[in-house]
Amino acid sequence: MPEITRDEVAHLADLARIDLSDAELDHLAPQLNVILESVASIRGVAEDDVPPTSHAIPLTNVFRDDVVVPGLTAEQALSGAPAHAQQRFAVPRILGDEQ
């Protein structure tokens, strides 16, 4: 596995929407390399004809009857919201200046 650089960690943090500080980046990058080195052994273990497993107990087409059951009220759904108004979640602006 290629070495994961500090810049790559910064890019991954950006993709994951986490504002990592410089100190955190310095700390994380070498730790991630140690972990990645230890999992790199996975390459070449399985032949091409081995199917992947995503769930241990495979179930397909799980249906239930389409009946109306009580759900959360708007008040309940909003009860943990950092901010709400008019029975809706209130969020910071979602468009940038140029949009």
Partner: protein
Amino acid sequence: MTSIQDGTRRTAAELADALAAGEVTSVELTQAHLDRIGAVDGAVHAFLHVDAEGALAQAGVADERRRAGKPRSMLDGVPIAVKDVLATRGLPTTCGSKILEGWVPPYDATVVARLRAAGLPILGKTNMDEFAMGSSTEHSAYGPTRNPWDLTRIPGGSGGGSAAAVAAFEVPLAIGTDTGGSIRQPAAVTGTIGVKPTYGGVSRYGLVALANSLDQAGPVTRTVLDAALLHEVIGGHDPLDSTSVDQPLPGLVEAARLGATGDLTGVTIGVVTELGGEGYQSGVLARFHESVDLMLAAGAEVVEVSCPHFVHALAAYYLILPAEASSNLAKFDAMRYGLRVLPDGVESPSAEEVMRATRDAGFGDEVKRRIILGTYALSSGYYDAYYGQAQKVRTLITRDFEAAFAKADVLVSPTAPTTAFKLGEKLDDPLAMYLNDLATIPANLAGVPGISVPSGLAVEDGLPTGVQILAPALADDRVYRVGAALEALLAREWGGPLMDQAPPLVEEGESA
């Protein structure tokens, strides 16, 4: 019952009998456990939230039902604690994270709803590694839990709070969750019982997902019979969880009672070659081999089985788990619930800037490590080489289990490679921390059930060790039968349960 205080030393099955016989009330029992929490939890810190008022109210109603001759279940009125990763309506649910500080869910997880339906008063929520990421409970944003056997040591993780609460006699029963060993490893290092049911055997609805293809809730107790009683309350099909298995549970309590005779005639036990030897503490291995010898003497046939791909389980797990976790934790976005942090010095910040600032402030180091790792494993260019390979290795591990279960009814190994280590010892060495789950991870990858049963104290440090018993998927009854047998055989050797050997915790108000 000679005194109410004795109630905290008794098993859930004994308490259920005492309640049924009218020897004690649920209010008395609940208060006795609350008193114990008040006396020792300052030192142990197993609880993040104690709901004395709510628990006593539930106990009062349970007593009314008992008086009317209409208990809701055998465990009606027996108090319980719940790991803080399960949603509890009206009770805070933090997952050990700052990002959910103060969040009170508007609904109950199915496991919690079933506890309420069966009449168990919920004493509170137990501490855990943040979002169940860790093996020591030191990654909790609210401070670590301490091991009741030695307060300078870790109680295991991620469910260290549930295991420590049970080991400290603060509660007879607790709920844990196990993604890579988070029920079984804490059980091993605290001298308690922990069961990871078959994947899909207990509903995940309302369980805040770490890795949804691996997570499974299960019982944390001091006896195998208590675990079976609790498992029968929480288990079974749930239409709210699409991965829930639509089959009746096998008779778990019946299996535990059968096992308690200590007879293992006709049972074949497979010792897994790859789960032992290098990397395992000598005292842990010594106690493990003693347990195997006892089971052999009790009529079991013992065979050695090889599961060659288990050596790759840890690597597969640390690709699959972060990948799923990074997706699951994307929902903590500061918009609908939980923490919202505004970035410093930004006028009118955008939603995305708020999201970034919140996730930096709200997540701890280990969570960030795993989100970044998962994002990496899922990124194009690496996906096939790592995540895709890990999924294939998962198939090979499942095949190893199938081959092993063709030769043996159950598989056994030490639960954890070492006894409880000192607080802080592995905190900044992620890889050393990950190795704690070496023996428990294969069961999660294959979805099979497992139990950890105390096997004694390691000679070198006098700390508890555990034996893990694994069974094929949906054959959870086997782990109860063999687990109860081993428990009974060891109790005969020791003249009582291992917990009788635990040093007493100094209660507040007593002189040390």
